[in-house]
Assembly symmetry: C2
Homo-oligomer: 252 residues x 2
DNA sequence: GTCGCCAATATGTATACTCAAAATGTAAAT
DNA sequence: ATTTACATTTTGAGTATACATATTGGCGAC
C-alpha cells in the first residue's frame, strides 16, 4: 500500500514532514509556523524551496497564509469527498461480471416537457434537435442501471452518426468530449411502472437516482438520469477533511 | 458567479489561458506543447515562471510531463466528483430553516452485533468501550436526518465528558479531530418500522443511506449511519473531468 | 541488420537575488 | 479619543543561473 516511493527531494521531504505534523496535531489548528525565511534556514534550504512547500500546503488547504501576518494551520470545517464516477463497463467488469448495454430507443427530435422534467432540465434554452435515448446497463444479464439521456446535437454534431446500440452513450461522450464539467444530484426514489418492470424490481423499491448535467463552456452537452437498484448498488467515496474557503482566520 | 477576480499575475494568466485552450480542445488530447524554454520566450517570462505554470497544470492532471520527451495534453478517462459534505446545521440554515438536534439515547457499552451490522463495521477489532448513540436532525421541526453512531472512546477519550444532547456528534467530532479521513458509502434503502415512524414517512419510502467510517491514523474514530428522507433530500456534486493516474501515455 | 552504449535534450530541482503588495502597529494630527 | 498617515514586516511574484536526471534517437560494434 506504500506510495510508489516518491522522489526524495528536499521540498517533498519537508512537505511530508509538515503534513504529518499537522495531521498528528503536533501543529494543531491555529498554530503559527515560523516565517518562511526562518524555516528555510532551519531546514537548510533556500527561501524559494521553503516557499514551494508552504505554497503547496496552502493549496492543499492545510495552512492559510496572510501577508505581514504569517502562516497558520487552518481549522478543518467542511469535508470534501472525492468521488470517482467511472464508466459503468469498467465498474461492472471490476466485479468480475460481464457487461452489456441494451439500447431501447434513440431519436432525434424536440424533447417533451415530461422528459425534460424527468432529467431535471431547468434552463429554458432547449435546441430544436436533441437526441433522446433510453437503455439499460446489465451486469451478468441482471439489470444494473437504467439510463435516460438527452444529447445536445448542436454541441456534439457528430453524435448524429453514432450508433448508440453498440456505443455506450456515456462512454462515447466522455471519449468524444474530454474536459467537460458536470453537476450531479443524487437522490433516493421509489420506482414504479415501467421502470420497476425494466429493472426487474417490485413497485416501490428504493433506487438511487443520479441526475447529471454536463456542460462544456457555456452550452450543455447532455442531461442524463441514471437509476440504480438501491440495495444492490452503492456509491463509495474516500475523502479527507478540508477547510472551507471562508472561515480561515487564525486563532485571534 | 464570477470568481473573485484573482490576482492578475503572469503565471495565473498563462495558467488560465492554457487551461482554456485544453478545455476548448484547441489543444486536444495528445497534443504536444512547445518545450518550456520556448514557451517562456513566447510568453515573455522566465523559464521558472513557465515551469510553475506547467507544473501546476501537471498537478491538476491536464498535462503529462516526461523528461526528454516533452509536455502533452492528457486524455481524460475518469471523472472525479468533489462532493462537499458539510455539517448538517450549516446546510439546514442555508435553506433558511431552523436547525435542531434531538438525542434519543447515548450509552457507553459493548456494541451489539446488530448495531455493528447496521453501521457497516467489518473489521473485528472492536474496543470494549464504545459510545453508541442515536438521534434526529430536524429542519423547522421536520425530520431531516436520522443518525446512528458509534464512537471509539480509546481514540477520542474526551468524548466521555461530552453531552451529546446539546453537542451535535458529527460537528463535535469534526472540531475535535480535524484532518481525519473518511470513507462513505451511499445507497438507497426502503425504510420500515421505527425508522419510518421517526422520520415520519410511510413504510417502504425510499431513503438515502450514508454509511461513513472515519479513520485517524490506523484506528477508527467513528462509524455513522445517516438516513435522509429520499424525495426531500439530495446530495449535489460539481466536478470536472480528470485523468486516471495510469493511462497517461501521449499519442504514440 | 540488430543490439547496446552514449550523448543530446527536455524536464526537475534548487539557489540567490529583486521588487511588489498587503497587513499591522505606531506615531502624528485633528 | 479617534482617525489618518507612514514605516515595517512578511508573503507573493519574478528573473537569471546552475546542475541533476531521465529518456530518446543515433552511432558504432558485432
Amino acid at each position: 500500500m506504500a506510495r510508489t516511493a516518491g522522489p526524495e527531494t528536499h521540498h517533498t521531504r519537508i512537505l511530508e514532514e509538515f503534513r504529518q505534523k499537522i495531521v498528528d496535531r503536533i501543529w494543531g489548528p491555529g498554530f503559527q509556523l515560523d516565517k518562511e525565511t526562518d524555516l528555510a534556514t532551519q531546514y537548510g534550504v533556500s527561501r524559494m524551496t521553503m516557499n514551494k512547500v508552504l505554497t503547496q500546503l496552502a493549496q492543499e488547504g492545510f495552512v492559510v497564509r496572510r501577508k505581514r501576518s504569517g502562516t497558520f494551520v487552518s481549522k478543518a470545517r467542511t469535508q470534501a469527498a472525492v468521488m470517482p464516477i467511472n464508466n459503468l463497463a469498467d465498474e461492472v467488469e471490476a466485479l468480475g461480471k460481464t457487461y452489456r448495454w441494451q439500447l431501447f430507443a434513440a431519436e432525434i427530435r424536440v424533447p417533451q416537457a415530461a422528459e425534460l422534467r424527468l432529467l431535471g432540465v431547468e434552463s429554458p434554452p432547449i435546441p430544436d434537435e436533441v437526441i433522446v435515448l433510453g437503455g439499460m446497463h446489465y451486469a451478468d444479464d441482471e439489470p444494473f442501471c437504467l439510463e435516460t439521456r438527452a444529447i445536445n446535437v448542436d454541441v456534439v454534431p457528430n453524435a448524429r452518426d453514432v450508433d448508440f446500440a453498440t456505443q455506450v452513450p456515456g462512454h462515447w461522450l466522455l471519449q468524444s468530449m474530454p474536459w467537460s464539467t458536470a453537476r450531479n444530484a443524487i437522490r433516493a426514489v421509489n420506482v414504479a411502472g415501467s421502470e420497476a418492470r425494466n429493472l426487474d424490481l417490485p413497485v416501490g423499491a428504493a433506487c438511487l437516482e443520479i441526475l447529471r448535467k454536463t456542460v462544456m463552456g457555456s452550452d450543455w452537452v447532455t442531461y442524463a438520469r441514471l437509476l440504480y437498484p438501491g440495495e444492490a448498488f452503492q456509491l463509495t467515496a474516500e475523502f479527507k477533511t478540508k477547510v472551507t474557503p471562508k472561515a480561515l482566520a487564525p486563532q485571534s
